[in-house]
């Protein structure tokens, strides 16, 4: 089952990537990122069967980070939305110096 799990992980990750690339809605992109994180988690868990429980520990950390990220990221999106009245990333280029 290991190979299948890893393949699935790769597929999910790719879907997440394609989503990030094609969508412009900030929240959807954000969710795509979460999908990618999940795909990675799947790899960790699958491999933890081989290498011991450290992989699962890592998944716990990933989740914590994902939670923190979601909190801050969504707060940012809200702040931007307040300012720009949109979450369409094409209309947002605050990163440009």
């Amino acid at each position: 089952m290991l190979v299948e799990a890893l393949a699935l992980s790769a597929l999910l990750f790719t879907i997440g990537v394609v989503g990030v690339l094609t969508r412009r809605n900030a929240i959807i992109i954000f969710m795509c990122v979460e999908l990618m994180l999940n795909a990675v988690n799947l790899s960790f868990v699958a491999l933890s069967k081989l290498y011991g429980a450290a992989g699962q520990v890592f998944v716990v950390f990933t989740m914590a980070v994902a939670a923190a990220e979601a909190a801050v990221g969504l707060a940012i999106i809200i702040a931007i939305f307040r300012h720009q009245r949109t979450v369409n990333l094409q209309n947002i280029n605050l990163l440009k110096g």
Binding site: V17, V20, L21, R24, I29, L89, Q90, I92, N93, L94, L95, K96, G97
Partner: protein, 727 residues
């Protein structure tokens, strides 16, 4: 000769007044310090504590001391407030120095001067193999020079008291003049070449300062700068000569070098190169071809300066140097021939220019160049005594001529000043008939003219005749005759030299007579208004002239030739200088004293007298002072006259050939092109530009669109993964 062999103090002079010889240069230095301080005190106005607070923004207010110098001034300027002290100190130190020099000279006459007297003052540059001490070298040669420098210098200092009395820069003038004497004494007393070089450059510096004394005129400042730079070209030669000496001999002491040079092969490369580079130094200092052009321009300085520096002392330093380095020169016949040929060519060339000059000081300046050429002919052919002899007599009569012309200019200037006329007080076309107004000056200057022309029994006759005879004597049976210069046998070269020298003697007689005729004879061409003001200059100026007149008339007795043994002791100077230059002179003449048959010698003397008389007669016959018109009415000259008046356009040629190309190439090619263009523009700023270009390209990727970043990131990921995959 070896200085190491004579313990200091063991020299017979050590017990005499000569041990005070270090005071000689020190006295004028003291005068310089006092006068310099007074000069600064006279003009200094200490600025405010905060320089930027005021000043620099105001307009129009010109401080009193910024007025034009006295010569352009209309109101009679007040004497300088320190004039009295300066008049006392300035000439005073020279009188003291001269007195000391006379005392030392007397002491020297009392002892056997086989070895020079060396006095080491302190260790100067002890570095590695180079053990340079500040050593004074006192021997008959330097004694002769000291006597000339202090003696003539003293007279000129006294003259200056009168000539410069109204100048606002009076103390500054004497400070410079004293400093000059200090350096000149250092030059002649220096016991090593570097020490001599200190004096050598020091006199050049003072010459620069004094030529540009009235620096508010651009022409004067230009002339000073030109003199210094021309001299520096020569000094480059001197410097290289010293490098060669040290590299080959391991010492720079004058005696040490002479000793080592004696062991060189005759006519070897080393001796020839050193001698030629030394001579390059001489061409700068003593205004020989090709570096002579600064001397005529140097007439921009006050006239006593021209007399002291640019006639009597500094410009003869080159002659002194050749005599001093006679040990090297006598080993290099090719260099000697070069010296003689350049000297003769200069004598001839300058004399032709002198024929057509209108400025009285320019005539004298070219005459000086010409006479210096004579001296180089003498030292070039190894007749060092003749060269030094001519140096001494020339110092007498040329100083007299310059001071006399100074008197004339002074009187004319004072007259113009009273009538508010702005004509040129130095142009002979504005003079004429001054005989009746300035009889003393007139007669003294005629004495000098007869001397320089070579009329018998005046000093110039003896020295000039000795030079011509020496050249003639060496055409055969000398190292020179055996050598060849650029494929031409030495004998031929010497014959050319002799011919040029005789021709210049003729021209000398002509242009000097012309100068006297135009200045003192014929009708007076000054304006009606000025005429009542023409009178003899004050005694403080005329007095030194009289002394110089006596020296000019009787200076020939210093070294009477054997031919005229009837009139006095024969060869005084010759015997005096024998320990210094005798050996080298004999080397050139293959060990035997040059000897010409009596008849030949008589013929030569007769020819010389004939030439002198003929020249003066020709001038009197051809030149009509009455036909001259004042400068402002004179027509433009044409043809050969114009070429001569413009000095063969040599200055313009130098400017076009050397100065302008150097400056222009430095500006356009080196600075703007290479420095700012290639190094700074291409490499330095170019690399900065390149970095900025890459930066700009990078910044274009920063769209601020997260999507783009995601794309870029992903491309990076794929590339990396690909790199892993297909490794």
């Amino acid at each position: 000769m070896n200085p190491a062999m004579i313990p200091e103090g063991a020299h017979p002079l050590a017990a005499t007044v000569a041990r005070l010889v270090w005071l000689l240069p020190l006295l004028p230095l003291l005068g310089f310090l006092i006068n310099g301080t007074l000069a600064m005190l006279g003009v200094a106005k200490i600025g405010p504590a905060d320089p930027s607070a005021n000043g620099g923004h105001g307009h129009g207010e010109v401080p009193g001391h910024a007025d034009e110098h006295a010569h352009d001034d209309h109101g009679h300027p007040p004497r300088h407030k320190f004039a009295k002290i300066v008049s006392l100190v300035g000439p005073g130190v020279l009188v003291a120095a001269f007195a000391l020099a006379v005392a030392i000279f007397a002491a020297m006459r009392g002892v056997e001067m086989e070895h020079p007297y060396l006095l080491t003052l302190f260790s100067w540059m002890p570095v590695g193999d180079l053990k340079l001490d500040a050593t004074i070298l006192l021997d008959p040669l330097s004694m002769t020079m000291v006597m000339v420098v202090t003696g003539v210098g003293m007279l000129i200092h006294v003259f200056s008291v009168g000539y410069m009395q109204d100048d606002p820069g009076y103390p500054r003038y004497f400070a410079y003049l004293n400093l000059f004497v200090f350096f000149m004494l250092l030059l002649v007393l220096g016991g090593s070449y570097p020490l001599l070089f200190v004096g050598w450059e020091g006199v050049g510096l003072c010459s620069y300062l004094l030529i540009g004394f009235w620096f508010s005129e651009k022409a004067n400042a230009d002339a000073g700068k030109k003199a210094f730079i021309m001299n520096r070209i020569g000094d480059f030669g001197f410097l290289v000569a010293m490098l060669l000496m040290f590299a080959n001999f391991g010492t720079l002491d004058i005696l040490g070098v002479a000793e080592q040079a004696a062991e060189l092969p005759m006519g070897g490369v080393i001796a020839t190169t050193i001698a030629l580079f030394l001579f390059l130094g001489c061409t700068g200092k003593s205004a020989q071809i090709p570096l002579y052009t600064w001397l005529p321009d140097a007439m921009a300085g006050p006239t006593p300066v021209s007399a002291l520096i640019h006639a009597a002392t500094m410009v003869t330093a080159g002659v002194y140097l050749v005599a001093r380095a006679s040990g090297i020169f006598s080993m290099a016949p090719v260099a000697q021939l070069t010296v003689a040929l350049v000297g003769a060519a200069t004598a001839f060339f300058a004399a032709t220019i002198g024929l057509k000059q209108w400025d009285i000081k320019k005539v004298l300046a070219y005459s000086t160049v010409s006479q210096l050429g004579y001296m180089f002919v003498a030292v070039g052919v190894g007749a060092y005594v003749a060269g030094i002899f001519h140096l001494v007599t020339h110092a007498f009569f040329k100083a007299l001529l310059f001071l006399g012309s100074g008197s004339v200019i002074y009187v004319l200037h004072a007259a113009y000043h009273k009538t508010h006329n702005h004509d040129d007080a130095q142009d002979m076309r504005n003079m004429g008939g001054l005989r009746q107004y300035m009889p003393i000056t007139f007669s003294l200057m005629w004495i000098a003219t007869l001397a320089i022309a070579g009329i018998p029994l005046f000093s110039g006759f003896f020295s000039k005749d000795e030079i011509l005879t020496s050249v003639f004597a060496r055409i055969s049976h000398s190292t020179l005759a055996d050598a060849s210069l650029l494929g031409m046998p030495g004998g031929t070269v010497l014959m050319i030299v002799y011919g040029l020298a005789v021709a210049s003697a003729l021209m000398t007689a002509i242009y000097m007579a012309r100068m006297m005729l135009y200045t003192f004879h014929g009708p007076n061409r000054t304006g009606e208004g000025e005429r009542p003001h023409l009178k003899e200059a004050p005694w403080v100026m005329t007095g030194p002239l009289v002394v110089l007149g006596a020296l000019t008339a009787f200076g020939g007795w210093l070294n009477v030739p054997a031919l005229l043994g009837a009139i006095g002791p024969v060869g005084g100077l010759e015997h005096f200088l024998e320990p210094v230059v005798g050996e080298a002179a004999l080397r050139t003449t293959l060990g035997v004293a040059p000897h010409l048959p009596h008849s030949t010698e008589l013929m030569l003397v007769g020819a010389a007298i004939f030439i002198a008389v003929a020249g003066i007669a020709f001038a009197v016959w051809r030149l009509k002072p009455a036909a001259l018109v004042p400068r402002k009415d004179a027509p433009e000259s044409t043809g050969i006259d114009r070429v001569l008046e413009n000095k063969y356009f040599v200055d313009e040629g130098y400017a076009a050939a050397f100065v302008n190309p150097t400056v222009n190439a430095s500006r356009t090619v080196l600075w703007k092109g290479f420095d700012a263009g290639i190094i700074d523009g291409l490499f330095v700023n170019g690399s900065a530009l390149l970095a900025r270009a890459f930066g700009w390209m990078g910044s274009q990727l920063q769209t601020g669109q997260v999507g783009t970043y995601a794309w870029v990131l992903l491309i990076g990921v794929i590339t990396l993964l690909g790199a892993f995959t297909f490794r």
